[in-house]
């Protein structure tokens, strides 16, 4: 059983792509960040990618860095993340943790898997962990029936697409461009090509696209070729610019139309 795969299949049954919203725990503070996640669900997100703050976020651009830096300095940790997981589950969306590897290793891989499962989390996205280094996480996630989402990139060889998708469960995260998180004016052609290559390697695994998708038009475009659309920086922007819960909810509502293929005027 996979919570993420089920939810993505439900969306597909409705003739649309799934909407996955990223927000980090602890910006501007823990409670407000959890409220924002719930608001993202209220606006129509199917899943929330719950960001674990990390001091050295290697694939994040300046917007996410700025928000996460606040949370790191405030000492936000896995206990707060697990609270967010419970809140997102209670709001009716699928919670999936997104964490660089060191916070999980430090918390304890087995303990993380057990606590995440107990909190109702689907699993984890690990942007700097490749399956080759993931032996303890592969066994802990098996034991607790958790999804594990690895990344593929335009530079991945066919052999790596095969091995990475084989190790993934729930969905595989297709990084649409070579680069870091942030909003971009256009969706690169690399994204569609990567999704096609990934599907060829793993026909039964859902492929969701992230990195640089920020508005309904881009969401609609990506929904045309992928199973799910992941939006991060644009959500964080809402909070950084002071639009709060209402801004997050409104963005979700627009993106939710986007993943249904229609672009609000």
């Amino acid at each position: 059983m996979s919570l993420l795969a089920d939810r993505i299949a439900t969306a597909r049954g409705e003739g649309r792509a799934a909407l996955i919203a990223y927000l980090p725990v602890g910006y501007p503070d823990v409670d407000t960040s959890i409220d924002a996640m719930v608001a993202a669900v209220g606006g129509g997100a199917d899943a929330v990618e719950i960001g674990v703050p990390y001091s050295d976020p290697g694939i994040d651009g300046p917007v996410i860095q700025q928000a996460v830096d606040v949370a790191v300095r405030a000492g936000v940790g896995m206990r707060d993340v697990l609270r967010a997981v419970e809140a997102v589950a209670a709001a009716g969306a699928v919670p999936v943790v997104m964490s660089y590897w060191n916070p999980i290793e430090r918390y304890g891989v087995e303990r993380f898997a057990a606590d995440l499962a107990a909190a109702g989390g689907a699993g984890a996205i690990t942007p700097d962990l490749i399956p080759d280094e993931a032996a303890p996480w592969l066994s802990a996630s098996d034991e607790h029936d958790l999804d594990r989402v690895f990344l593929v990139a335009p530079s991945s060889t066919d052999a790596r697409l095969a091995s990475t998708t084989a190790a993934s469960r729930g969905f595989v995260y297709a990084a649409s461009t070579m680069g870091v998180t942030g909003t971009r004016a256009t969706v690169s052609d690399a994204a569609a090509k990567l999704v096609a290559r990934t599907r060829a390697a793993a026909p039964d695994l859902a492929v969701c696209v992230g990195l640089g998708v920020s508005d309904a038009a881009q969401a609609a475009e990506v929904a045309g070729f992928a199973d799910g659309v992941i939006v991060g920086t644009a959500y964080v922007r809402q909070l950084l610019d002071g639009h709060g819960r209402a801004g997050v909810r409104a963005l979700s509502a627009q993106l939710a139309e986007g993943v249904r293929g229609s672009v609000p005027a």
């Binding site: 050295d56 694939i59 936000v76 060191n102 430090r106 942007p127 530079s155 991945s156 680069g179």
Partner: protein, 458 residues
């Protein structure tokens, strides 16, 4: 310690390459690749090209010629008896990497990686730098080989090492001050990785130390091991025996691995790495990753690092920009865990005392990074002297210290520490002998005239 290990009967034919890392870059549990998938193809390409290059006779000839004619290798060893008086009666020999072109060991690695960059057909190099020595070396190699060059440097370090920023710009490199996080080396590495993942098609990342994802720790070690290969032969030739201990400062660990590697099979030779102890490991304000840290993952590899309970990297502190790094290369973590090398902290004050001592006893201004190794030699020498068991019979113990770099870049930091060069009276920091009489005819600090005014007076 056995005498046979210290007086080898026959010289080894070719220096043995360590049995580690394994094919996927692991030194025991350390090392590996903890990077986004987007970089794996580039790391695989580098690994493959490097494995082919390192046994290619054409490369080996070109590399050897550059080291000889451009860097000035082999670097000499210098015995420093007046300094050694402060090291418990041990004999102290310095391996003079400060005499290399650009002034430190960093050039050894950079020339290798620049040749590799050309071999894989890339036209741009990027690098991180702390003290600026690796940045200067990379900018130098880029100028030499016609590559375009961008250097990431923490904003805090651009201030501490302003001389090197100017040098890099003179050499045609773009220097980008990094304003995220602690604004030091750690954050410069993050920015360099972000640049690399975005521009990987035409860009090679010339990593400056034996840390980072595979293949960097092994490749940089291979390029730096010339230090120890030369020094081992030089000490044998001069003294007819091996040293009792080999000492080096450890930031990421490249100069230390460089001098250690040749000696790893020599069981009787102690290998001592000196970490930056800052205000003291007990204060929490330090950069001693092995002495004061725990295993974890940072910058693409598993190794010892300074981290908190949430797995956040803790900011490091050191007077030395080049050692001000909360991580360390995975091979050092491994050598520590198997007990083959020992790691000790040296505080800012201890390092600055050794810095001043070498200046005044031997006429050599070392880099502040290097001064940590010199302080280690004073410490180890005194311990051996007090125990009376360091040497062979009547012979005093022999300490080989890697003099990894020269101190030109640190003159301002040292002047501030010692209270020189300021019209206001500043209390000198530890290490400066206040009674020393000024050299006759010397311009005292209060009379010094800056820049343009100096020209007008002349």
């Amino acid at each position: 310690m056995t005498t046979s290990a210290v007086r080898p009967t026959g010289e080894r034919v070719a220096p043995p390459r360590p049995a580690w890392p394994d094919a996927t870059g692991h030194f025991g549990v350390f090392g590996g690749r903890f990077v986004p998938e987007a970089l794996i193809a580039a790391l695989d390409e580098l690994t493959e090209a490097y494995e082919a290059m390192r046994v290619d006779p054409a490369f080996l000839a070109e590399f050897a010629a550059l080291q000889r004619d451009y860097t000035g290798r082999p670097s000499p060893i210098t015995e420093v008896p007046r300094f050694a008086e402060h090291a418990g009666g041990a004999r102290v020999l310095l391996k003079r990497e400060d005499l290399n072109h650009t002034g430190s060991h960093k050039i050894n690695n950079v020339l290798g990686q620049a040749l590799l960059t050309k071999r894989i057909g890339k036209s741009r190099v990027i690098a991180e730098t702390g003290a600026g020595q690796h940045g200067v070396a990379t900018a130098t190699a880029a100028a030499l080989m016609g590559l375009s060059c961008t250097i990431y440097m923490g904003e805090e370090d651009t201030r501490r090492q302003a001389l090197n920023v100017a040098r890099m710009r003179l050499l045609g490199a773009e220097v980008i001050p990094v304003t995220t996080g602690s604004r030091t080396l750690k954050d410069a590495i993050n920015e360099a990785f972000r640049d690399w993942v975005t521009n990987v098609e035409a860009t090679n990342y010339v990593f400056g130390t034996v840390a980072g994802p595979h293949p960097f720790p092994a490749m940089v070690r291979d390029f730096q091991r010339v230090i120890g290969d030369e020094a081992r032969a030089q000490v044998l030739e001069r003294l007819g025996r091996l040293p009792d201990a080999v000492l080096a400062c450890v930031g990421g660990g490249s100069n230390a691995i460089g001098i250690f590697t040749a000696f790893v099979p020599d069981d009787g030779v102690r290998l001592v790495g000196l970490e930056a102890g800052g205000d003291g490991v007990g204060t929490g304000r330090h950069a001693a990753s092995i002495t004061g840290g725990t295993p974890g993952v940072l910058h693409g590899a598993r190794s010892y690092l300074l981290q908190d309970d949430n797995g956040q990297t803790v900011e490091s502190h050191s007077i030395s920009a080049g050692l001000d790094y909360p991580g360390v290369g995975p091979e050092h973590s491994y050598l520590h865990d198997i007990g083959r090398a020992e790691y000790r902290p040296v505080t800012d004050s201890e390092a600055m005392e050794a810095f001043a001592l070498l200046c005044r006893t031997e006429g050599i201004i070392p880099a502040i990074e290097t001064a940590h190794a010199l302080a280690g030699a004073m410490m180890v020498g005194r311990e051996l002297g007090a125990r009376g068991d360091g040497g062979r019979g009547e012979d005093p113990p022999v300490l080989l210290v890697n003099l990894s770099g020269r101190g030109d870049k640190d003159v301002e930091t040292a002047s501030r520490w010692f209270g020189l060069g300021d019209r206001e009276h500043v209390d000198p920091g530890a290490g400066l002998d206040e009674d020393q009489r000024p050299t006759e005819g010397a311009v005292t600090s209060g009379d010094a005239v800056p820049g343009q005014a100096a020209g007008e007076q002349a």
